[in-house]
């Protein structure tokens, strides 16, 4: 369930700009309305996505409930050295979903 699926191209050349695609299973709860007013509760949705490449931050996203269920993000990394791209999804309930992928030439 709490697994992050990541895809990168099969062949990577040094210095190339690589597109990383990540997907996580998450309900991304939508705001409920009762009598025209929003229901007050702690909605469960992914509000932050962070990605690092060999410890350096390459990408960060602040997402809202307007992002679809099972959120998908793609971003790029400049692959200048072999290493690990690590992605963390944070949701509003304090849960984190982590995934990583290795870049090698």
């Amino acid at each position: 369930m709490s697994q992050v699926r990541i895809r990168i191209p099969e062949k990577i050349k040094p210095g190339e700009i690589v597109t990383v695609r990540a997907l996580v299973s998450h309900p991304m709860e939508m705001m409920a309305f009762k009598g025209g007013k929003p229901v007050e509760k702690n909605y469960n949705f992914v509000h932050k996505v962070e990605a690092t490449y060999n410890g350096r931050k390459v990408f960060e996203a602040a997402t809202t409930q307007a992002v679809s269920q099972n959120p998908f993000v793609s971003f790029t990394v400049k692959a200048d050295a072999p290493g690990v791209v690590k992605i963390v999804f944070h949701d509003t309930q304090g849960k984190t979903y982590e995934g990583q992928v290795e870049i090698k030439f």
């Binding site: 996203a61 602040a62 809202t64 793609s74």
Partner: protein, 171 residues
């Protein structure tokens, strides 16, 4: 005769007063509803459930002008989205990513969603390129804006209209 006139005038006065009270009560209700909505959002910095797109832009960028992006932003969005719950978007910003001048943030803002600010993406020079793809929800047919902000504070905006057949925002 005189007493009748008196009566009439008082009746009128009473009605007027009633009307004024009604308006005041109405105003009070509005005053109460809006902060309640803000509290529903919980976190700090979260916008109200209903925010006009102009207010969103003002909140995010202040009075800085938005320049039309032209060729600088490659923004792929479907012309017709059959399902508003999953609208795939792809944004590529064709600007240099050097240490001194890079694309710091990319925003997705959809004009007619209840809360127009949908997502904010931050990049660093290590990203190589400010490129992002994601799926968003749209409530109805609307303009979607991709807004790129560079580290020097210049803002570029690209816009696409997406026609939505079935809205994806529930209530």
């Amino acid at each position: 005769m005189k007493s009748q006139q008196d009566l009439r005038s008082t009746r009128r006065a009473v009605l007027k007063r009633l009307g004024a009270t009604g308006v005041a009560l109405g105003a009070l209700c509005w005053g109460l509803v809006v902060p309640g909505g803000a509290a529903a959002q919980g976190g700090a910095g979260m916008p109200l459930p209903d925010e006009k797109v102009a207010d969103t832009l003002k909140r995010l960028f202040g009075d800085r002008p938005l320049q039309s992006a032209g060729e600088r932003i490659k923004f792929e969005a479907p012309m017709i989205a059959e399902n508003g719950a999953v609208v795939p978007l792809r944004i590529e910003v064709e600007l240099p990513m050097t240490k001194d001048d890079y694309v710091k943030n990319v925003y997705i803002i959809s004009d007619k969603n209840r809360r127009p600010m949908n997502a904010q993406f931050s990049f660093t020079p290590d990203s190589g390129k400010a490129s992002v793809g994601t799926n968003i929800r749209l409530g109805s047919t609307t303009d979607v804006r991709a807004i790129a902000e560079t580290s020097k504070g210049v803002i570029y905006e690209a816009r696409r209209e997406v026609k939505v057949t079935v809205g994806g925002c529930g209530g």
